[in-house]
């Protein structure tokens, strides 16, 4: 190519070290705004809490000991896991058929449907959650509908329940799952499905044996995203369930801002972080095993 200088390095990224230039801006942002605070957080989790200085830089494991010796905190882990996993499963179960339909639809229908399902993305999470809050209020719309159908009587207790939390989290995170799933389903070539049809496979079998395995990477990534977002969600549980269900993100907030026990808050944050990573990794392992990923490549 016979060219040199910064510009040609950017234009011809095949040059040996030019990739450094391409990833530098992103890397810099990650290091400054993610890695440094995370290291600091990890440090803090092993410091002693101090009533005057907030923390004392002396190594200790008491924060973790306190956490793991109390069944209340174990319950919190369980709750957070339950919220995350249940929301993920529900979002995927609802989202996959929608994504499938969207990937088949064309023209105006597709535009309208896509816009409709992506709506939660354009409304701030606070407003979206408040909408549900109003619906779920005792004697609110949900109750009135159920009551008119004769299904319930007396004040309905939806608002503070676990179910309500999962519904709202699922609704708010559905667009993310859809975006990934639609593109994943669309990348399954039409000819592969046609081939299966000429080989005699009924529709359910084509779905189970061809479409599902080929869209597994999309399912995995949307599951990871929904799990990470919903298990770490703070705003939604605060508004929907309040203090009635102890969750890690709410606890972290309270230790940071109310009791000012920063080291313990850091320990909680680190544990939530670890849980998320373990679940993600487990999910990847599981789906890779099911779809035998890594052995084959798309052709």
């Amino acid at each position: 190519m016979g060219k040199s200088g910064l510009v040609s390095r950017l234009v011809y990224p095949t040059r040996r070290y030019s990739w450094i230039i391409m990833i530098m801006p992103g890397l810099l942002v990650l290091v400054i705004f993610f890695l440094v605070p995370m290291v600091r957080l990890a440090q803090l989790a092993f410091y002693q809490p101090d009533p005057i200085w907030i923390y004392k830089p002396a190594f200790t494991l008491t924060n973790f000991a306190k956490f793991f010796s109390d069944p209340f905190y174990w319950g919190m882990i369980f709750n957070s896991l339950r919220v995350g996993l249940l929301t993920t499963v529900c979002t995927l179960l609802v989202g996959y058929p929608i994504a499938y339909y969207l990937s088949l639809s064309r023209g105006t229908e597709r535009t309208i449907l896509t816009a409709g399902f992506m709506l939660p993305l354009f409304v701030t999470m606070l407003v979206g959650t408040l909408g549900w809050y109003i619906l779920f209020l005792p004697f609110g719309l949900v109750q009135r509908i159920l009551q008119s159908l004769g299904l319930v009587s007396g004040p309905l207790r939806v608002l503070k329940t676990f179910t309500a939390l999962v519904v709202v989290l699922g609704y708010l995170h559905l667009p993310y799952a859809l975006l990934i799933l639609v593109s994943s389903i669309q990348s399954v070539p039409r000819e592969k499905i046609d081939a299966a049809r000429t080989l005699g496979a009924p529709t359910w079998m084509i779905f189970l044996k061809i479409v599902l395995p080929l869209t597994m990477p999309g399912i995995t990534s949307s599951a990871i995203l929904v799990f990470a977002l919903s298990s770490s969600s703070y705003l939604v549980p605060v508004l929907i369930t309040g203090q009635s269900i102890p969750l890690l993100p709410i606890a972290i907030w309270r230790y940071t801002n109310e009791t000012l026990n920063w080291p313990f808050a850091a320990a909680n944050a680190l544990i939530l972080f670890a849980i998320t990573i373990v679940v993600m990794y487990g999910l990847i392992l599981l789906t890779n095993r099911i779809s035998r990923r890594g052995k084959w490549e798309v052709v």
């Binding site: 592969k192 000429t198 080989l199 496979a201 044996k209 084959w296 052709v299």
Partner: protein, 368 residues
Amino acid sequence: MEQIVLQLEKLNKSFGNLHVLKDLDLEVAKGEVLTLLGPSGCGKTTTLNLVAGLINPDSGKIILRGEIVNAYSPQKRKVGMVFQSWALFPHMTVYENIAFGLKVKKWPKSKIDQKVREMLSLIQLPNIQNKFPSQLSGGMRQRVAFARALAVEPDVLLLDEPFSNLDELLRRQMEVETRRLQQQIGITTLFVTHNQEEALVMSDRVAVMSNGKIVQVDTPLKVYNDPRTSFVCEFLGDANIFEGQVSEVKASHVLVECGGVTFVSSRLGFNAGEEVTVAIRPERISLSRDTGSSDPANLFPNMFPARVSEVVYKGPTAVYSLILKGVHNVVVTEQCLNPEEIKRPGEEVYLKIPPDAVLLFKKERNNG
């Protein structure tokens, strides 16, 4: 009378405003390879998809083994299909790909094993059953797709340009091998291609399509040497085309006047004064440096002096461009057996064209 396995009757298909198939009729006999040949957009792949049941016709009948199958889903039609992309299932091994259709039919495991082994030895790749498609070369993938389609023992095999993703050399190899395989099994095959050479190599009969209609169905020999229209002639191989007018009709031949050159043609059925298109294949014209005889009565009927303007040497053959009567450009392909025989640019030579090589077509009204 040969048994007809597949019959298409007055098939029509439109996509929106586009009328893709117009009253298409076709019959495929048991065990033969019939090729649908035509330029892209002529409706050949649409025809194949209609037979497979992947799309439905607007009107007309699809008859498989004497039974109207219009209402049948692709699953029930007993056709095997090899796609242009081969459409292998990338997450399944070669074994699982070939066994897929058999598992659908709930064959017992031992029978499936046996069939897969049989198929793999048929395509001469006995040791690849545990490989994934991504680990195979293009030619191997194509053969696996073939084996997968054949494993279910279909009544008709549909091939949708299965060689177009292969490089030139491999493609020729696969054409011959696929033809051998087909003859070995004797499966009725409907083959779609836009490649004329492929069509000639692979087929028992070639159906040349244009604009949603079949223009001619004949053996490769006939469609090439005796094309019915100038479209068929030009689509299958090269041809020198001249526009002319029939000047004289005799019992055994006609004379055609084309811009100062009069060709003698043994094609009959034309009237004096009729406007015609003349087509002459480049390999049917020979070049010589002398007239061959001094007696005017013994002279070759179509012999014209011409000047060589360009020579392209291709090894076994040479392609010449010549100027005839100062106006017509004529292309001639000749074998090069002797280097002395190769003409040079600027040389004055004689063109000799046998009267049966002068093909005549009635003027087409712009439907090529």
